[in-house]
């Protein structure tokens, strides 16, 4: 009877491959994310946020590989990433856009022993709802001032127990959980993205928007400077060009001591600068009876 293990592929598997194939054909961008140890409820949150922008499927790697073949995609490109537990995201956004979108909302979870705080951890003043008992000594250890009121632990003032980057005291974890404080961020770790035949490893998807802002600013500044230099006829540009021309004129006037009400300040400043430079050059040797600014 054992001979019958001539694998009859279950119907749900066939349907799943069918569905995946469909999505592979429908969406230009495919992203593979590692969900090893990723809380299922958080994945659900992500799914909700992505509604209308992307679809997430959690499936077996082997089924996805089959679908790749069926969709006529080169599965060898994906092969190295098809290990462990993965979520597959299908979207019309380009991979960087999706990545930026995912980075925008923060998913938080409860602290576990060994975690570092991603944001300031504060135990707020007020009734904790926790019955007084051995927990009081834990509060004491955390240097949180408490009193007992109606048999409950009552925190006297807001107390910071960890700053961003600090390890969270392990004994704080159960308290934080009871208080509903989630100080640790989690994010979906993207292994790889694919769009239009291009494979982009996850680490290349990181985008520093500030750098782009700086580059835009710099590019514009370069353009503006160049425009000023060639007197490109736009008011904003010519304003600066005219200022530059005026400054040139004043410098030249100062150089030849051409005195007009506009230049007199520059001319005298120039004479002064020279006088002080000369005074400075001999001040070690001669008492000029003056203070020479150095």
């Amino acid at each position: 009877m054992a001979v019958v293990t001539q694998h009859k592929i279950p119907k749900w598997k066939i349907e799943e491959v069918e569905e995946l194939t469909q999505k592979l054909k429908e969406y230009p961008t495919i992203v593979i994310a590692n969900i090893e140890g990723f809380p299922a409820d958080k994945l659900h949150d992500i799914r909700k946020k992505l509604r209308g922008k992307a679809e997430i499927k959690v499936t077996k790697n082997s089924l996805f590989e089959l679908a790749l073949k069926k969709a006529g995609l080169d599965e060898s490109k994906f092969k190295p990433y098809l290990t462990g537990s993965n979520a597959y995201i299908f979207t019309n956004m380009n991979p960087f856009e999706l990545h930026l979108f995912l980075a925008k909302f923060k998913l938080k979870r409860y602290a576990m022993p060994g975690d570092k705080a991603d944001e300031e951890v504060v135990i707020p003043a007020g009734d904790t709802g926790m019955p007084a008992g051995p927990i009081l000594s834990t509060f004491g250890k955390l240097k949180v001032k408490t009193k007992v009121q109606d048999g409950k632990v009552y925190v006297l003032q807001d107390t910071v127990i960890a700053k961003p980057g600090d390890p969270i005291p392990p004994e704080a974890a159960p308290i934080l959980q009871k208080l509903g404080i989630m100080p640790v961020y989690i994010k979906l770790s993207i292994k790889v993205a694919y769009e239009g035949g291009v494979i982009i490893p996850g680490e290349q998807l990181e985008i520093n928007l500030d750098e782009y802002k700086d580059e835009v600013m710099k590019a514009h500044f370069n353009a503006f400077s160049l425009a000023v230099e060639i007197a490109y006829p736009e008011p904003e540009v010519l304003k600066v060009t005219a200022q530059k021309a005026a400054r040139n004129a004043i410098s030249l006037a100062a150089e030849i001591a051409y005195i007009t009400p506009e230049t007199v300040q520059a001319v005298i400043s120039k004479a002064m600068t020279k006088a002080y430079a000369l005074a400075g050059a001999i001040s070690g040797k001669v008492d000029l009876g003056i203070q020479v600014p150095q």
Partner: protein, 66 residues
Amino acid sequence: MEYIYASLLLHSAKKEINEDNLKNVLSAAGVAVDDVRLKAVVAALKEVNIDEVLKNATAMPVAVAA
């Protein structure tokens, strides 16, 4: 800076900064287009308020003069 100059060119021509337009401009300038970079620039600039950045950049020379 080619990708940024090309993007600002599109922006000041009031054209959308998308992959096709950007690729067109870069190719016309004889730049061999890197698809990954192209995608990254397009995605990043979608998030950047270029007009805002330019306004700050232009204000600068005046600031120096002030």
